[in-house]
Every structure is written in C-alpha cells, then in structure tokens.
C-alpha cells in the first residue's frame, strides 16, 4: 500500500487474512471430502432434483413463446382491421349498398374497350337514372343519356373509338324528377 497502515489497522488486516485462510481451509477440506466417483444412486438423485426445475423452466419458456406469438397475431389482426387504406375495404358487388347509394360497376379503371356502363343501387322502388360520360382530359361531354330504368347502358351502338380517359357520372332521379345521388368513376383504355 502506498501509505503505511497504523499498527491497529495492520493487525486488523492480518486478522482478515487469517479469517480468509480459515475459510479457505474449510472449503478445501469439504471439497476434498466430496471428491470421488459418483454412484448411480447419487447421480439419479441429482438428475431427479434438476429434472423438475429444468422441465418447469422449459415449460415456462414455451408458454412465453406461445403468449408472444398470440399477442403478435392479435396485434396484426387489429392493425389490419383498423388501419386506414386507400382501397375500399369491400369490393364492388360484394356487399349490399345502403339506401340511396349508387355504385358504378363498369367500366372502372383500365379496360380494353368501352362496351357498356353498368351500375347498381341500394335504393328501393324503381328510380330512373341519368348517365353522363365526359372526356376526363378536356372535359368534353361524350354521352348524356337520361331517364334510364335499367342498371346498364350498352355502348355497342356508339362510336367509342376516340374515348381514351373518361369520367362516368350516374345520377339517380327520384319520383319528382330531381337528380339525387351520384356515382362517379374513371376509366381508361388500356391494351
């Protein structure tokens, strides 16, 4: 030590060293006494004692793994259910529409040709419809058909070759002749 300890401190350090020696002697003696080949009975006793605790630790670990997996699954389901998405959750035609709702089924998105306009409604009774088709780029009116009672307007007899990108609007006309709900869709010609 860098500083000479006082006489009393020195004696105390010597006493600590003696205590260490005594503890070490006891330890060595016990270790020596425990040496020797193990018998089958002794080994079985050790294995039996540890088997329980090793088994329970394994079980607890397995349970933890299952709980974590279940938690992750529930979390993923909740995210899938509640996260907002760009696409509509229900595909057209897959779920009933509410009262007064109109939905355009065709043409929507990229289509090889424009053959018909088709829609559906959740309204009761027999409303009439007006179908308006516009060139989406120029805004030019390409088709305006009103007083339709069906849910489909064939385009076979119309020249649609010049139609490239169109906007379709379908209006529902009530009994008093007022245009009500409207559905809008965009479609374009794709090869």
């Amino acid at each position: 030590m860098s500083q000479e300890p006082s006489e009393r401190a020195r004696r105390e350090l010597e006493e600590v060293a003696r205590a260490l020696d005594r503890a070490a002697r006891l330890e060595r003696e016990a270790i020596r006494a425990s040496e020797g080949a193990s018998t089958a009975d002794e080994l079985r006793a050790v294995e039996a004692a540890l088997e329980r605790v090793r088994g329970s630790q394994g079980g607890a670990s397995g349970r933890r793994t299952w709980l974590i997996a279940a938690g992750l699954l529930v979390g993923a389901l909740l995210l899938w259910r509640f996260l907002p998405r760009d696409e509509p959750r229900a595909r057209p035609g897959r779920v009933p529409l509410g009262e007064g709702r109109v939905e355009i089924l065709e043409p929507v998105g990229g289509v090889p040709s424009f053959q018909r306009v088709r829609w559906r409604t959740g309204s009761q009774g027999r409303p009439r419809y007006r179908v308006l088709v516009l060139d989406e780029v120029s805004g030019q009116e390409l088709l305006d058909q009103t007083d339709l009672q069906a849910f489909e307007l064939p385009l076979d007899n119309r020249d649609t070759h010049a139609w490239q990108r169109i906007r379709i609007e379908v209006y529902e006309i009530d009994a008093s002749g007022q245009e009500g709900r409207v559905a809008v869709a965009r479609a374009w010609r794709s090869p």
Binding site: M1, S2, A9, E12, L13, V16, A17, A19, L20, D21, R22, A23, A24, L26, E27, R28, E29, A30, I31, A33, S34, E35, S38, E42, L43, A45, V46, E47, A49, L50, R52, V53, R54
Partner: protein, 200 residues
C-alpha cells in the same frame, strides 16, 4: 448466490486459472441445453450432498440424515437457478461449496436452540467452527470487484504466491501485492460493517 457479474479486462484471463474457464464454459453449455454438458454438470453436482454431510458433521450433526437430503434437493435447485450468475471466478466446486455453506447456515438459523432440539443427538461443533464463523467472510468476498476478488481467491483459496498471481495476470508481483492489500482493506471494511463495528 456466490458469484455475480462478469469479469473484465485482465480478469477474464484470471477466470481461466485452474478450472474456472472450463467450468464457466460447462455452465454455459449446460444452460444452453447441451445434453453432454448437462450430464457432466450433474456428475459434478453429486458433491452437493457430500459437502452438506461434511459440514453437518463438522458442526455437530444438528440436522438428521433426511433433513440433509431435503436440503440437498433445495440447494441443487438453487444452484441450477443461479447458474447464469456463475462467472468462473473460482472453480465450480468452490462456488458450490459456498452455496452449500450458506444454505446450511440459513437452515440452522431457523432451527430451535441446540438445547431444545428433540429427537436428534446434537454434538458440540469443533471449537471456533460454527456455521456463522466463515459466512461473513464469503459474503464479504462477494462485495469485492472482480479483479480484487481474483487476487484474494488465488492467494488464499488457491495458495498461490504473488509471483504466480502476477504471472497469470501479466502484472508485476508488486502490482499484484498492491491490489491484494487494497482488497484486504475492502474486506476489513465489509467485515466491520457485517459485524456492526465499521471503523473505516
């Protein structure tokens, strides 16, 4: 439990003296579930009942044979659960012995006084060799930082000289001696605290 914390720096090398490093590796492999390592560990743990019987005999047989057997089961479970804290600072048998010592001393503290014990013949322990005699020394050792503890373990429990310790630690004997006396001073303070007469 007897050991805690990982050695660092040159102490890592010290942990390798004797069987410390291989024992640490054995413990890690057994904990990882390697069958061969577990079988080897079980074979080494057979010393638990033997050590408890030895201490019980030395302390005047305060426990009967079946009590020692029960205690052995408890100690084995405790050893397995605390095995992750074994840092290889001493041989596995030293670590096991100190756990046995602590467990038996704790069990005896919960027993009625010697004179009131019924049904078992209690002998007087050897002079100055009661269960409480070394317990505070083992506890104080655990308060030392790893390097200081290694030096003390090597000096007293492995009976190495300062030159030998210096060779293992790759330090001069004088440096080791300085560490040793600093460790003794730490131990003196720790023992003073545990005996309620801290004079540090």
């Amino acid at each position: 439990m007897p050991e805690s914390g990982e050695p660092e720096g040159p102490v890592s090398a010290l942990a390798g003296r004797g069987s410390g490093a291989s024992d640490l590796e054995l413990a890690r492999r057994a904990l990882a579930g390697v069958g061969e390592a577990r079988r080897e560990l079980d074979r080494r743990l057979v010393c638990v009942p033997r050590m408890l019987n030895h201490l019980n005999a030395r302390w005047g047989r305060p426990l009967q044979a079946h009590d020692v057997e029960d205690l052995s089961q408890d100690v084995l479970v405790a050893l397995w659960r605390s095995l992750p804290s074994y840092a290889g600072l001493s041989a596995l048998e030293s670590w096991i012995f100190r756990c046995c010592h602590r467990a038996l001393a704790a069990r005896l503290r919960r027993m009625p006084p010697l004179g009131s014990t019924q049904g078992s013949k209690v002998l007087e322990p050897a002079a100055g060799e009661g269960p409480e005699v070394h317990e505070d020394v083992y506890q104080a050792l655990e308060t030392l930082e790893p390097r200081a503890r290694q030096v003390v373990e090597l000096k007293h429990f492995e009976e190495r000289t300062f030159e030998e310790i210096g060779a293992v630690l790759e330090r001069s004997p004088n440096t080791v001696k300085t560490w040793y006396y600093q460790a003794l001073e730490e131990l003196r303070r720790a023992l003073g605290r545990s005996r309620g007469s801290d004079e540090a």
